[in-house]
Structure formats: C-alpha cells, structure tokens
C-alpha cells in the first residue's frame, strides 16, 4: 500500500525535478557566461564547438564548469563541450550483458567510462582491450548527479605510443587555440576592476580635501572623517607600521593644528592607535 503511494510520489517528484531542472535552464546564460562573453562570434562557435571532438585531459574535465543541469553540458575554456577524446590506461574493466564499464586513468586523473555494446563489432572492439592497456577513447561527456563520466563511441588500443605524447600536445594546442581569442577579455576585466577601482578609492579623500578647503574651516566633523579615510585607504590600511601625522597633513593639505586636534580625538575614541613609535598611527578597524 505504501509502495504504490510512494511510487506515485516518486513520479511527481521526478516531474518536479525535471521542472526545476528546466527552471534551472533559465539561469544557464548567467552560469555559462563564459561562453557568450568569450570572443565576438561566441554564440556561433559555441554551437559548432559543442559537436567538435575536443582532445582533453581528465584534469580539464574535472575542472570544467557545468554549463546547465538539464543538458548535462560542460564548458571548458568558455566553450561548450560534449564530444571528447581521452588517452589513458584502462583499469577495472567490467563486462556486463549490454555494456562494458571501465576506469580511464590518463595520469592527470581518473574518469568512469561506459561502452554500450549494440553491435557485434562493438563487442569485438571491447574484447581487444584489457586492464593496463593504453586506449584512445572517443565519446560523449556526461554529468549525472554531480559525477562526470564518458559514454564511449569508440575505444581503441594504442599501438603507436607516440599517440600518447601527441594527444597531450594536441590538448595543449587546442587549449591554446581556444584561449587565444578570449585572452584579451580577462585582461580587460582585470584592468577595469583592479586599477581604476583602486584609483577611485585613493582619489576619494583628495576630492573631499579640495571641497573642504574651498568651503573654508567650518565643519570639524568633515576633517574627522577625512583623516579616517586616509587611514582606510586600501594602499595604507594593510601597513603594519601605520602612517605619521606628517603624512596625513601632506595628504590632506590642511593646517597641522586642525589635524592634530582631530587625531587626538580619534586616539581618545579608540579609532586609531600608536604602532612602532609615538609618530605612527594605525586604524583600529583593520583588526
């Protein structure tokens, strides 16, 4: 009685799962942003590359980002991957009625491989390879419940061992080719997030200083926050020794007595403290 109900529920759960997976598909563009962003003709080459046979190392597969849950597609170097070639040693071969399962170890990692035996030629091919043999596997990369595996279309024994070195060199070559067109983009991102962001924060106190001196010696509170903003400058906050009063005066271009008065208040409030000597101070904020 429970079994029937349970079965029904499972069915419902399955459908809900499928729905949520489709729902997840809606997030796909943001998750796989690497693909559309990478290079101008990204969307065009994406479709083509998904079907292109890519030579890969197992390490690359394990590092790959999953593009979307429902299609179990992966992105490597910003391109969708489905058909791959791996070269490695066959381990733990298990022959079953309809398929052969084994582990492929290419020295960079291990991955489960399945070969369905539909035709007698498939069976013949699989009989030719055994544990310890080097094999060339062409197949589809699949993801299931977070585990990655390969469904092989062909498994051939390596007879010319130059194929192994060649495969790895081919992996490098293809990686280089795919990252070459994208390489400009990450550097631009770095440039825009790194340096200008930093510069903005550094510039901030100076801007305030100019507005302050323009408006004259009126609000003491502004000087107080200006002084603290110098301490919290990203270029300074990590300095173990802290900074001197002279540095702050020079930085803010304000009268010495004004700065000293504000500093004393900050010291009394516990916002800043002495470091290596009586002249150096550091913000208490950086812990």
């Amino acid at each position: 009685m429970y079994g029937g109900g349970g079965g029904h529920y499972d069915g419902g759960g399955g459908a809900a799962n499928a729905n949520s997976l489709f729902g997840g598909g809606g997030f796909m563009p943001s998750q796989s942003t690497a693909a559309p962003e990478s290079g101008g003709g990204g969307s065009l080459s994406k479709g083509r590359n998904a079907q292109t046979l890519l030579p890969l190392t197992v390490k690359q597969i394990m590092d790959a980002a999953q593009a979307s849950d429902d299609k179990s597609n992966f992105a490597i170097n910003g391109v969708e991957v489905s058909t791959i070639r791996l070269v490695g040693r066959m381990l733990g071969k298990v022959e079953r009625v309809t398929d052969v399962a084994f582990i492929l170890d290419d020295g960079t990692g291990k991955i489960d491989v399945n070969r369905w035996e539909n035709e007698s030629s498939d069976t013949k091919e699989m009989a030719d390879v055994n544990d310890g043999n080097y094999v060339i596997v062409n197949g589809g990369l699949k993801g299931f419940q977070g585990k990655r595996h390969v469904v092989a279309y062909s498994v051939r024994r390596v007879t010319n061992f130059n194929d192994i070195a060649h495969h790895f060199l081919h992996c490098i070559y293809v990686h280089l080719e795919l990252t070459k067109s994208n390489s400009r983009l990450p550097s631009q991102i770095n440039a825009s997030t790194g340096i200008p962001g930093h510069a903005n924060q550094v510039r901030l106190p100076n801007n305030q200083a100019t507005t302050f001196s323009a408006s004259g010696n009126t609000a003491g509170n502004d000087v107080s926050s200006l002084v603290m903003s110098v301490f919290h400058d990203p270029a300074i906050i990590d300095r173990e020794d802290g900074i001197t009063v002279a540095y702050i005066i020079d930085r803010l271009k304000l009268p010495e007595e004004v700065i000293k008065e504000v500093m004393q208040k900050h010291i009394d409030d516990g916002n800043i403290y002495n470091t290596i000597d009586d002249l150096h101070y550091r913000s208490a904020m950086n812990g």
């Binding site: 190392t57 390490k59 690359q60 590092d63 040693r89 381990l91 170890d105 020295g107 960079t108 990692g109 291990k110 310890g132 080097y134 061992f161 130059n162 070195a165 060649h166 790895f168 060199l169 992996c171 490098i172 990686h175």
Partner: protein
C-alpha cells in the same frame, strides 16, 4: 598498483622537482640488472629505475612510479613503448606540461 594520485610528466631535469612524488617518464633502456634498469631520459640524463619490468635494451620504456631521488624512480607500472619512439616530442611535452600548461595536467 596505486594510481590514486596524478603523476607529473617529467624528463630527467624536471624529475628533480618531484622527489617523493608520483611521476611518469620515458627512458631508453641501456642496461637491465635484475630488475634495476639503467636508462637515458629524453633529455639525456642517466636514470635508475627500481623494480622495473624486463624490457629489451634500446627499447623505450614508460615508467609510472615514485621519484625516490633526483635520478631514481621506484616503478609501479612499466610499459614497453618499443624501439621507435619520438623522444624529442615527449621531451617537449614534459617542458610544456610543467610550465605554462601545468594547469591542464596537475
């Protein structure tokens, strides 16, 4: 055989950096003295392979094992790569796989 951790692809020179760790390399067999194989790495270094398989002299042998010293590998798996193997290409691969493209391998 233990294949649990990845093995660095090395030549004689790069072997230095992986003492105590798993490596894979190819040597050309020069002498075989009861399980100890003396061979030449693809970059011309003399390497000693302990507990190696019996592989004919002048054949290339691939070794998976632990780097015991900078010139000694304790073999776990050996494969006869035959007499015709492009040592130069493999040596080039060693250099690339441990430098700019290390992230694809280790």
């Amino acid at each position: 055989m233990d294949t649990s951790s990845p093995a660095a692809i090395v030549n004689g020179e790069i072997l230095n950096k992986f003492v105590g760790r798993r490596v894979r390399t190819v040597v050309q067999v020069q002498r075989n003295e009861g399980g100890m194989v003396f061979g030449q790495s693809t970059d011309g270094h003399q390497l000693t392979i302990k507990s190696a398989m019996d592989i004919p002299v002048s054949h290339f042998m691939e070794v998976y094992g632990i780097a015991e010293h900078n010139q000694t590998i304790r073999a776990e798996v050996c494969t006869d790569f035959g007499p015709n193997f492009d040592a130069k290409a493999f040596d080039g691969l060693c250099k690339l796989a441990n430098d700019k493209f290390k992230h694809l391998f280790l």
